[in-house]
């Protein structure tokens, strides 16, 4: 798969304060790219740079292989739909009138607008003023406004923010449907659980730096789960191991971090050699949440 978005050492500084450092994003075409990071890690700024809303301090952005510059920006934006921060929409107008605005502005056909509205399942609420919409409906209207131009790339900044569980599930389903139709979706969140099962590729941002980029499987592989050793005298075992390993007590077990299989065998041999009974050795369960916490240093979750 070719990459629809690539950035090369993309950076943004406000005065001397760096917000985004040397970002090399690779977003494969047709994927759902989960852009994760704690609040304030630079996700919104990065997305705004991708859309040309904010000028990068340095580095380059390519969309579909073409550089995003002031001169090419409006043309490239024709193929990108976006929803940044709060959803758009004119409160004094109805949903239908808001869609008509987009239709007139971009010269779209009735079919395109109707399809976008159906995709977000808003067709029964079009005659209500947007002011009276719930947040979830506003988000869906914003997505419909972004979708009407039938973009190849959709950039959504925290689309599930502030939604109830049903609303979050609705957005997840929507993202999956869009990806099924071949739209590349870049979606950000500060909550891993919200896009965990939807995203096929993850990019994790912390303090303005890209901490990880790749598939879920690659993310898991990158840090092996902790080894737990069950023994009747965990305190003694811990005292034996703490010299050579990263060890801590965990209930009736000793938890060892960062061990590969050889190191695990060595640890067990060390305990057995010292006459400690070993009742069990197992790998701990490791959720994506833990991996995320490790990468971001536990910030902001």
């Amino acid at each position: 798969m070719p990459d629809i978005v690539t950035t090369d050492r993309l950076a943004k500084r406000y005065r001397e304060h760096p917000v985004v450092h040397d970002l090399d994003l690779r977003i494969p075409e047709g994927c759902v790219y989960g852009f994760l990071g704690p609040n304030g890690s630079g996700k919104s700024t990065t997305m705004k740079m991708l859309l040309g809303l904010v000028r990068p301090s340095s580095g380059e952005i390519r969309i579909g292989g073409r550089p995003m510059r002031r001169s090419t920006r409006r043309e490239l934006l024709g193929g990108i739909g976006s929803l940044i921060e709060t959803p758009p929409g004119y409160g004094h107008l109805t949903g239908r009138e808001n869609m008509r605005l987009v239709q007139r502005l971009l010269g779209l056909g009735d079919g395109q607008v109707a399809r976008a509205v159906r995709t977000v399942r808003l067709q029964d609420h079009l005659d209500k003023k947007v002011r009276a919409y719930s947040l979830g409906m506003k988000q869906r209207l914003g997505i419909a406004m972004a979708l009407a131009r039938e973009p190849r790339l959709l950039i959504l900044d925290e689309p599930t923010n502030g939604l109830d569980p049903a609303g979050i599930e609705e957005i997840r389903g929507l993202l999956r449907r869009l990806a099924g139709d071949g739209v590349t979706v870049m979606v950000s969140s500060h909550l891993l659980g919200e896009i965990d099962r939807t995203a096929t590729v993850l990019g994790i941002l912390g303090g303005g730096r890209l901490l990880f980029q790749g598939t879920r499987a690659e993310l898991f592989a990158r840090s092996a789960p902790d080894v737990l050793i069950d023994t009747p005298d965990p305190a003694y075992a811990h005292s034996l191991l703490s010299g050579g390993f990263e060890s801590r007590l965990d209930g009736t077990s000793v938890r060892l971090a960062g061990l590969d299989d050889r190191a695990t065998a060595k640890a067990v041999a060390h305990l057995v050699g010292a006459g400690v009974d070993v009742h069990g050795v197992r790998r701990g369960e490791r959720s994506l949440e833990d991996v995320f916490m490790d990468l971001t240093g536990g910030g902001g979750l």
Partner: protein, 250 residues
């Protein structure tokens, strides 16, 4: 044209129409009440009534009114995610700027239409003036509407750059004050370079007040319209350039 049509849809159910209706009516009321209270009859008929309402209107209420209209038109864009949606779309900055200016100009022109109608109504109902006002007032109204365009573009640009509703309106007020000084000094040529003064001159056309000679000539009207066209072009280009170079709020 799509961008302009979209902008006209946005002013549906907008407060702008209240301004368009109330501001000129209020000014004609002031002119009428002043005349009635002073116990005089409008000696020169329509001319007196026009002088008392339209010249006053052109001194600052018109400029401030356009400032309010521009702030109303841009206010919706500064709310929620509308700015990001508009700037993250494929519509070029020039078209966005021109469409907004077109709407503000159209509202200002509508305001002039209401003004003319209000003068006629006051003249007929309050003073029982004979006949209809001379056709020259229609021409003058057209010149005023044309002179409103650069003010509309300038105010639209200010309201685009500033999220504040009141700050651009305050600048319109200051601009109008500066224009009065220029016009009192009789600096007609310098006035053509300042949109606020140009619109003031247009409202004084044919009245003999301030820098005006009192005679309505086609050349005089054309020079105002020409200056308006020139200023409009320059201001639209400048606004589009600025919009293209403005970052979204971080």
């Amino acid at each position: 044209m799509g961008a302009v049509r979209a902008e006209f849809l946005k002013v549906k159910r907008s407060l702008s129409w209240v301004v368009v209706l109330l501001l000129p009516v209020a000014l004609v009321l002031v002119g009428t009440v002043n005349t009635v209270v002073s116990g005089e009859r409008p000696e020169e008929g329509w001319h007196t009534l026009w002088l008392r309402s339209v010249v006053l209107y052109g001194l600052f209420p018109l400029t401030v009114g356009i400032g309010v209209l521009a702030s109303l038109v841009w206010r919706v864009e500064h709310r929620g995610g509308n700015w990001n949606a508009l700037m993250g779309g494929p519509t070029p900055a020039l078209r966005i700027v021109a469409a907004k200016a077109a709407v503000v100009s159209a509202l200002a022109a509508a305001m002039q239409g209401v003004m003319l109608a209000a003068v006629v109504l006051a003249g007929k109902l309050v003073f029982a003036l004979p006949g209809l006002p001379p056709g020259r007032y229609v021409l003058i109204s057209a010149v005023i509407a044309a002179a409103c365009v650069p003010v509309a573009v300038l105010q639209s640009g200010l309201s685009m750059l500033m999220r504040s509703f009141a700050a651009p309106v305050a600048m319109a007020f200051l601009g109008a004050a500066g224009a009065i000084v220029l016009l009192m000094l009789g600096a007609g040529a310098a006035a053509s370079a300042l949109p606020y003064a140009l619109v003031g001159r247009a409202t004084q056309l044919g009245t003999g007040t301030f820098a005006d000679t009192g005679a309505l000539t086609l050349g005089g009207a054309a020079s105002i319209a020409g200056a308006a066209a020139l200023l409009t072009g320059v201001l639209i280009a400048a606004s589009a350039l600025l919009l293209d170079r403005t970052d979204a709020r971080a």
